[in-house]
Amino acid sequence: MSVAVEPGVRPQWTRLGNPVAAVYGALVLLLVLGSVLVAMRGGVLLDQGGILNILTRSTALGLVAIGQTMVILTGKLDLSVAYLIGLCSLIGAETMAGDPGMILPAVLLTLACAAGVGLLNGLVVAKLKVNAFIATLGTALIIRGYLENGYTGPSGQVPRVFQHLGYDRIGPVPVSALLMLALAGLAWWFLARTRPGYHLYAVGGDEEVARFSGIRTDRVVITAHVLCSVAAGLAGLFLASRLGSGAPWVGTDAGYDLESIAAVVLGGTLLAGGRGGVAGTIGGVLILATLDTTFDELGVTPFFKDVVRGVVLIVAVALYARRRMRR
């Protein structure tokens, strides 16, 4: 009995291999290309300052993107992180008010508030069944309203000790970047090795399948949102330590909402959920930071920078889509 065979068997070489390997491959390629371009202008991309620049840029975005990865893996999205970062920087800096003794309470309070916002997001998405896009946009607007009503500029002050967190470094490597990478490692372990991590993938892969398999999907979604918001809270604290105070616009100016989603997607995580991971996300973050640093060194206009970033993002996602189709 003959079996229908699709005409034109696909050649094997079209596969790009593991997406994480592809992301880091692209990063290396970009570093080489950037170095050559900068060298042609008589500069050096990867000197002490350049490395420091790339890693510092990566830290805040990396923190947010780690959280965003969790939410996106469950097939949701969090658009409230940018305003939440501003809010958290203010809560942290105002609670510290320059007093080193208040650092610990301030950090705990900030993270608790962030977790509260995440819980709200998660409950609205999981229990009220509001689409995550809308639910978190609503949360974003609520936080924005609060910030615009109460603040016109920076507020609060972090003690000098706390600023060390933002500025200390070992050689060209900032301590904060190492902490971010440690958190990424923790997140990787959580996703790849623990039961709640497995369930995150399951919910993103197919919520119904997960539910029928006995997974409490609501809890999984809520957990992801809480983790995401706490990560944004950490980013807010980091930025407060860099600035020396809290600022309402610190998250939105850098566009951490869309930027973090871009980094996650660039890192090979499927926007629909169920596939991807933190390793790719960090790669995506580093690619974006390298692009920025390279363009700064080259002194091109910010508009051109945005165009290139847009192109890179679209090309990356198109490549992933192709890979999936070829299976």
Binding site: Y201, A202, V209, R275
Partner: protein, 503 residues
């Protein structure tokens, strides 16, 4: 009632006097069911007969309003599927409950991952999966493979292993062949036999009578929520079974064929049609005629349909519609010339599941003709009545309809463009006996109005019962033509190439 069981030992599971109401609507009334170890027990009945409700009562999804469930002679109540699972009862769902991006082992243990020191014990998960696959005699599936990379038949194996991983002794299989291609059904048969040998009790729910007879030892027939009969399979013929299911004999099942006087002019003529997949196709469809196109999977039946309808056009030969040459290079061109194609894959290609009945029914008409241009005004209510659609109204979402009613919406969609030639590919796949009958009557009625119909079906009794002529394909060519009412043997001889070799 007395059960003529084959086995003397006591059943693994016994359901007694089960009754279930939904919103005052009695869906099950006083139904008994015994499942024995190592026995395949088929559950048949039309849609709405209560099969899936009974299965869900067994699996703890629904709780019965009346009656009792006994497992190994002990009375049990299941508040959730989990509790049924822990009593050893699992469902293999019709639509697979698998995550394509995760590995086989991860799917098998989904929601029950073994944990050691706070981390998932992958080694144990994989070893356990390996053990179950071995026990089933399935080699060639690695626990680490991503499920999406497996062929559908092997995905079903994974689904079954997943059900077995809860130490199931009772498996309820809901339409297990619905997602399988013809050649994969054999693999499932084999798997079911192995499950029997390993003393699993199987409840097998299917519309396909051939499978029921091939696999089961006993058959329970439900109708309108009540038990009609429980009989050993070898004591039943398929005629008797259909009579039990629908309350009418099989010969009254297909509508009368066209008389020679009913046939009109040739509406579609293909001469020497060929493309990459089919060759030398000669085809003449007359008004009022239903022509069956038979053949094995991959013989080119659907390729001919797709060529006629412009999806993969003929690159050789000529096509004439109503006597005038026609070049059909795209589905749009086909629709505009009055050639409609009801695809095999109703959910993937035929329907926008989240849209309303109205939007689906008018989809083709709106797309190909714009609003009102070229066709007379359309009465949607009339159209939906003509396909005997049962729905809450034109605004109901299509995904909420039963399979049979979804198929009627697909037909309505094509009838809305008033086709001259209708090509139907597997029009009754996955729908129940009563709805099949409605589709048959509808097709014959259309032929009576002068539509020329090309019918493709893998179910030979259907193809033979419906067609005024049967064309049989083999290896991309038409191997022969048979008059009305050929024997299954005659069709198979052509379809398998025996007739060609003999000639």
């Amino acid at each position: 009632m007395s059960v003529t069981g084959l086995t003397v030992e006591s059943p693994v599971v016994r359901l007694c006097g089960i009754g279930k109401r939904f919103l005052g609507n009695q869906v099950l009334r006083d139904v008994d069911l015994d499942l024995h170890a190592g026995e395949v027990h088929a559950l048949v009945g039309e849609n709405g007969a209560g099969k899936s409700t009974l299965m869900k009562v067994l699996a703890g999804v629904h709780q019965p309003d009346e009656g009792t469930i006994e497992v190994d002679g002990v009375r049990r109540t299941f508040a959730s599927p989990r509790e049924a699972q822990s009593a050893g009862i699992s469902i293999v769902h019709q639509e697979f409950n698998l995550l394509g991006d995760r590995s086989v082992a991860e799917n098998v243990h989904l929601g029950r991952e073994p944990v050691r020191w706070g981390r998932v014990d992958r080694r144990r998960m994989e070893a356990e999966t390996e053990r179950l696959l071995d026990w089933l005699g399935e080699r060639g599936i690695s626990p680490r493979t991503q499920v999406r990379r497996l062929p559908v038949a092997q995905q079903q194996v994974v689904e079954i292993v997943k059900a077995l991983a809860t130490d199931a002794r009772v498996l309820a299989m809901d339409e297990p062949t619905a997602a399988l291609a013809d050649h994969e059904v054999e693999l499932l048969y084999d798997l079911v036999r192995r499950l029997r040998e390993r003393n699993i009790a199987i409840l097998y729910v299917s519309h396909r009578l051939r499978e029921v007879f091939d696999l089961s030892q006993r058959i329970t027939v439900l109708k309108d929520g009540e038990l009609v009969t429980v009989r050993p399979t070898r004591e039943l013929t398929s005629d008797q079974l259909v009579r039990h299911m629908v309350g009418r004999p099989l010969d009254a099942y297909f509508p009368d064929r066209a008389r020679p006087a009913d046939l009109g002019d040739v509406r579609l003529a293909v001469r020497g049609g060929g493309n990459a997949r089919v060759h030398g196709i000669d085809l003449r469809l007359r008004a009022g005629e239903i022509v069956g196109l038979a053949g094995l999977q991959g013989a080119g039946r659907s390729a001919v349909a797709r060529a006629v309808c412009g999806a993969e056009p003929f690159t050789e030969g000529t096509v004439e519609l109503d006597g005038t040459p026609a070049r059909i290079r795209s589905p749009r061109a086909a629709v505009r010339r009055g050639v409609a194609y009801v695809t095999e894959d109703r959910k993937g290609e035929g329907l926008a599941l989240r849209q309303s009945v109205r939007d689906n029914a008018l989809l083709v008409r709106r797309a190909a003709f714009g609003r009102g241009r070229g066709l007379r005004r359309l009465d949607l209510g009339e159209l939906l009545r003509s396909v005997t659609l049962v729905a809450r109204g034109p605004d109901q979402e299509v995904r909420l309809l039963s399979g049979g009613n979804q198929q009627k919406v697909v037909l309505a969609k094509w009838l809305a463009v008033e086709p001259k030639v209708l090509v139907v590919d597997e029009p009754t796949r996955g729908i129940d006996v009563g709805a099949k009958k409605a589709v048959y009557d509808l097709l014959r009625g259309l032929a009576g109005q002068g539509v020329a119909i090309l019918l493709i079906s893998s179910e030979l009794p259907e193809l033979i019962g419906m067609s005024d002529r049967v064309l049989v394909m083999y290896d991309g060519r038409i191997a022969g033509e048979l008059p009305a009412g050929p024997s299954e043997e005659a069709v198979m001889a052509l379809a398998t190439g025996h007739a060609l070799e003999a000639a």
